[in-house]
């Protein structure tokens, strides 16, 4: 029986040596780019492979939540091997920027492609794809008159009482939506709107965007607020039969078409402050804005492209063109803390 | 009353051995009977049969002219009104001495004064609010006795309750017990090894041998 413990010891010496390998992982070599990402789409792996194939630059991925990445960067300080930060939602990018982890992008090519309202302050980050946060409705529960020319602001109206579902306020997408409202309407008006919206909830916020769309398909609610790409995913069948049939039961309405346009948010990236492979970092961002990558993004994550020579995926394009809000996405970050507190004050859970 | 307690033809097996065989016993009301015998003879089992914690293989038990056990009937222990005090400390540790004694009684004033009386008789009034872990061996047994006696049992069974207490203590307790039992006309059966005890307390003495009781 004495052998047991010693065998165990031997078995673990192997992993311990692996452990040591773990930590010396971040050796900086030539022709590499180290990407810190908090996107969790499997399709991104193919994107990285494409980049390597095209440029010969090796891609190393560190993926984790935004807050975890921030702690890591804080700990790494000037020694950080990170080159690129890649994530969804302008709010996340702005928060990152606030901590001082990014540096301005210099590539003219990038700046030519990405319009000003889709870039961060000092060009410290840029959008590489777009998504809109729109209204999904069940035509059996909502009349044409009700949905025609609908605005986000209308969701606070009495007529929508008990008919609206939306996910939790802890989600960045909602925070950015509220931020954009603050940017356009001011805090007071937005707070009143939010308070009334909350009293219109059909149920306590729970689940993710997909869950809200399903609820509308199941007639638990009349309308949901969710991101456009979910329709793509659900209609493509990638989410399974139940989601496919649910997607067929709902329609999309683009809010605010008669005024500023529907709320648009982004996926984006920036160059990290102490990037050892600065040039490769910018090359990677340029790649993300190339036709190839844009097509890949459009076809896999069903987002809207930045490049206007690329068309959105047919499943998404079928919803038609719509007017996009040109509020600077950098504002989302600016008003984010205010938005969060506002949502807490109105008890949007 | 004659034959207040009557055991007829009691048999009991333990571990496939017949330890009680055709046992008979008659006890008059108010009598104090001592039972002696070697260890393992079956004395404890006999007491447990009488109060109903175990059942004999065959036989009949009558108490106060009622059948409490035979082939067709077995009155449950809680209804037999038979008290049992054993050697081990079985006071309820979470209750005071007084609450222990009151455990079987319903809450009314006549019962309360009865309790006070018993406490006084057994010299344990000052212990009323103490907890079992604060009591000495002798004090515990007195409380245990009080607890059984306060129920006005028809029959009181004692299974070597004073074994392990020192002699001086015992000689103090005996007269108290005798008086309280006589005063309340409680019929008693006591298992013991101590011949002094037999002499001090009992009217008759039986020896349990080969499954039967023999008067000595």
């Amino acid at each position: 029986m004495k052998i047991n413990k010693f065998l165990l010891l031997a078995l673990l010496v192997l992993p311990i040596s692996l452990l040591i390998l773990f930590m010396s992982d971040e050796q900086v070599e030539n022709e590499e780019v180290n990407i810190y990402t908090s996107r969790h789409y499997d399709a991104d792996d193919l994107l990285y492979e494409e980049f390597t194939k095209k440029t010969g630059i090796k891609v190393n991925i560190i993926s984790g939540s935004g807050s975890a990445l921030i702690e890591r960067l804080k700990a790494e300080g000037a020694n950080s091997p990170g080159d690129v930060f890649f994530t969804v939602d302008a709010g996340n990018l702005a928060n990152f920027q606030k901590q001082g982890f990014l540096q301005p992008i210099q590539s003219e090519a990038i700046k030519n492609i990405v319009p000003v309202e889709l870039r961060g302050l000092n060009d410290e980050w840029v959008a590489v794809a777009k998504r809109a946060r729109v209204i999904f409705y069940n035509p059996e529960l909502v009349s044409d008159e009700e949905i025609e020319n609908i605005n986000y602001e209308d969701l606070a109206d009495e007529m929508w009482k008990g008919r609206v579902v939306i996910r939790s306020s802890s989600n960045m997408y909602n925070q950015s939506l509220v931020s954009s409202l603050i940017s356009n309407l001011g805090v007071e008006q937005t707070e009143t709107w939010a308070r009334n919206l909350v009293s219109n909830f059909a149920r306590k916020p729970q689940g993710n965007d997909r869950s809200q769309i399903m609820a509308v398909a199941n007639k638990e609610a009349a309308i949901a607020v969710a991101n456009t790409y979910y329709m793509g995913i659900m209609l493509s069948g990638k989410g399974g039969d139940e989601q496919l049939s649910a997607a067929k039961k709902v329609k999309i309405a683009f809010p605010n078409q008669n005024n500023r346009g529907s709320h648009v948010n982004i996926s984006g990236g920036g160059v990290l402050k102490y990037a050892p492979n600065r040039d490769n970092a910018e090359k990677f961002l340029e790649f993300l804005l190339s036709e190839e990558a844009q097509n890949h993004i459009v076809n896999n994550t069903f987002e809207y492209p930045i490049l206007d020579t690329v068309k959105p995926h047919p499943l998404i394009a079928n919803f038609g063109d719509f007017k996009m809000d040109k509020t600077s996405v950098a504002d989302f970050g600016k008003y984010n803390p205010e938005a969060v507190k506002l949502m807490d004050r109105v008890n949007w859970q | 009353m004659k034959n207040f307690l009557s055991l007829q033809n009691i048999s009991l097996d333990l571990d496939n051995k017949e330890i009680l065989k055709g046992l008979n016993l008659q006890v008059d009301k108010g009598e104090f009977i001592a039972i002696t015998g070697s260890s393992g003879a079956g004395k404890t089992s006999l007491l447990r049969i009488i109060c109903g914690l175990e059942s004999p293989k065959e036989g009949e038990i009558l108490l106060d002219n009622m059948i409490i056990f035979n082939k067709g009937i077995s009155v449950p222990t809680e209804k037999r009104n038979i008290g049992l005090v054993i050697q081990e400390k079985v006071l309820f540790p979470h209750l005071t001495a007084r609450k222990n004694i009151e455990f079987g009684l319903s809450k009314n004033s006549s019962n309360e004064s009865h309790v006070d009386e018993i406490l006084h008789h057994l010299n344990i009034t000052k212990l009323a609010n103490k907890f079992p872990h604060e009591l000495s061996g002798g004090e515990s047994q007195r409380v245990a006795l009080a607890r059984s006696i306060v129920m006005k049992p028809k029959l009181l069974l004692l299974d070597e309750p004073f074994t392990g207490l020192d002699t001086e203590l015992k000689s103090n307790i005996y007269p108290e017990i005798q008086s309280i039992l006589k005063n309340n006309m409680i019929t008693s059966l006591m298992v013991t090894h101590d011949l002094n005890e037999v002499k001090a307390l009992s009217d008759k003495c039986f020896n349990l041998d080969s499954g039967k009781l023999i008067e000595i």
Binding site: L12, I62, G64, A68 | P93, G104, S148, M151
Partner: protein, 532 residues
């Protein structure tokens, strides 16, 4: 007595170990020194009361439910014989293998609009496809139910052992005094085991307050979700730590209650020999009632979720996918490493207490780690490591984001388990063995290696397995401290459930439950041994 001149390398070593255990807590408490910022005010004005009230409601509700479930089943199984009793004796503990977050995920999907429960009900009652019979489970009452059915085994076990420790003679004494069995069980047995019940409830309260996965999924704002949200959403680690301090204080109150009650248990039984009351056979009618009462918790807490998970898993094509395999091997790697180190540590400390005159108090202090909620431990360790890394910023060796933090958290959390096992194992080795070895010339080192370890082998193995099972279930600390690109089974389940992809989460969930069955085997041996 301990004198300063006796201080040697061992004492220093132990002091260092104790410090490492406590430093995360110091970082947590130390957050107060940074003062309250505007985020905290915001929380104070808007959310703190909700957190407190919800937590209170949860603890009270769960306590009631687990008392009813745990004590009633313990009474039935101890005092009666009925159909299925032999099965339920050990089966009632099964829900312990299902971590609360997993049951929460299963129930959510199960009671969902198009989940099994509603589909079943529609089929039975022939209803339209848009009717839902079952109410929304994602409420605070739903959470009470989830915690109640996964945590009642603590109260059940502790009550059962306590009941078995009541000698038959005490029960008989009550019956001889004219009280019937029902009166006796309620007015004697239950008060006698009250310290045990309270200890069990304190443990349940701590587990409830520590949970993150279930309350987050049910969208119930509590301290744990608040802490998580403040850090990941507001990027404010300091305020998160301050919230953690508040939760920790509450947890420590329950810890004190538990310790206090445990001492009372030992005290209450010290006067008795062991000789349990013989169970009473129940007749058919009552026997079936007993059967149903015992079946309910086992069914809801274990059988139902497992069946549903199997149902979902079979609907996925590739359950042994790369991701699952990677997650499983990651889990096993980190959990085994931590379990091994924990056992080593427990061995060392117990040896030191026994043979090197180290005061027992160190052991007791280290054992308190289990009470600290995993989430809080993780946040404290993160802060600790970020600070350390910052001070040694010039090296390429970073502990933040490495596996060291996770392993440290695991060791702190699971030390108590391995200590308990090794403590009892060591207690089984008489001092005379040590003395004989010493007279034969063995020094301390040889004593440990050639005498103790061989004798402790079973204990070490048991401790290892118990810690392993415990760590595999762990979620909050793992979620936060895991290195990048390192998912475990519990984390996979969490991520998939958050994306409402329960079908994919089913198989990893079953693996977690499978490992969770290991301690149940041992716990049953423990209880059945007491029965003899």
């Amino acid at each position: 007595m301990f004198k300063f001149k006796d201080l040697n390398i061992w004492h220093v070593l132990i002091l260092i170990i104790c410090s490492i255990f406590f430093i995360p807590l110091i970082f947590i408490g130390g957050s107060i020194l940074f003062g309250i910022n505007e985020n905290f005010y915001h929380l104070y004005e808007n959310l703190l009361l909700d957190y407190a009230l919800n937590s209170l409601y949860l603890v009270l509700g769960v306590s009631c439910l687990v008392t009813i479930l745990g004590v009633s089943t313990a009474l039935l199984v101890t005092y009666f014989d009925f159909f299925g009793k032999k099965f339920f004796q050990w089966a009632l503990i099964l829900p312990l293998a299902v971590p609360p977050y997993l049951l929460a995920y299963v129930f959510t999907e199960f009671f969902d609009f198009s989940g099994t429960a509603n589909v079943f009900a529609r089929n039975i009652f022939d209803l339209q496809n848009d009717v839902a019979i079952f109410p929304n489970i994602r409420t605070i009452t739903g959470a009470v139910i989830v915690f109640g059915f996964t945590l009642y085994p603590y109260v059940y076990m502790i009550s059962r052992v306590a009941l078995m420790n009541i000698p038959a003679s005490v029960i008989e004494a009550s019956i001889l005094l004219g009280r019937n069995k029902i009166f006796t069980f309620f007015n004697l047995s239950i008060p006698l085991i009250r310290p045990a019940i309270i200890a069990g409830l304190a443990l349940v309260a701590m587990e409830t307050l520590s949970d993150f996965g279930a309350v987050e999924h049910f969208a119930i704002p509590t301290f744990t979700t608040g802490i998580f949200r403040t850090w990941t959403g507001l990027y404010d680690l300091t305020t998160a730590l301050q919230l953690s301090t508040m939760l920790l204080l509450v947890v420590f109150i329950f810890l004190a209650i538990e310790r206090n009650s445990r001492n009372k248990i030992r005290y209450a039984n010290s006067n008795y020999e062991n000789n349990a009351y013989k169970p009473i056979q129940l007749k058919t009618y009552k026997s079936s009632i007993a059967f149903i009462i015992c079946l309910l918790p086992v069914f809801i807490g274990f059988i139902l979720p497992v069946l549903e998970l199997i149902n979902w898993a079979t609907q996925i094509d590739n359950i042994f996918s790369n991701k699952v395999f990677t997650a499983a091997s990651n889990t096993l790697f980190v959990a085994s490493l931590a379990a091994f180190l924990t056992c080593l540590l427990a061995l060392f400390i117990n040896f030191s207490v026994r043979s090197l005159k180290i005061p027992q108090v160190f052991n007791d202090l280290l054992s308190l780690g289990y009470a600290v909620p995993g989430l809080i431990l993780a946040v404290g360790i993160t802060q600790m490591f970020t600070s350390i890394d910052f001070w040694i910023a010039n090296s390429n060796f970073f502990i933040t984001g490495s596996i060291i933090g996770l392993i440290l958290a695991y060791i702190i959390k699971s030390y108590a388990i391995s200590n308990n096992v090794l403590n009892s194992s060591y207690a089984g080795i008489p001092k005379s063995v040590d003395e004989s070895a010493q007279t034969l010339g063995a020094n301390k080192s040889r004593l440990l290696q050639e005498v103790h370890i061989p004798l402790l082998n079973t204990g070490l193995l048991t401790a290892f397995l118990l810690v392993l099972a415990e760590l595999i279930k762990e979620l909050p600390a793992t979620l936060i401290l895991r290195p990048f690109n390192f998912d475990t089974l519990s984390v996979s389940v969490y991520l998939l459930a958050s994306e409402e992809r329960m079908f994919q989460a089913a198989f990893p969930g079953l693996v977690i439950i499978g490992f969770g069955l290991i301690p149940i085997y041992f716990l049953n041996k423990l209880i059945l041994n007491k029965n003899n």
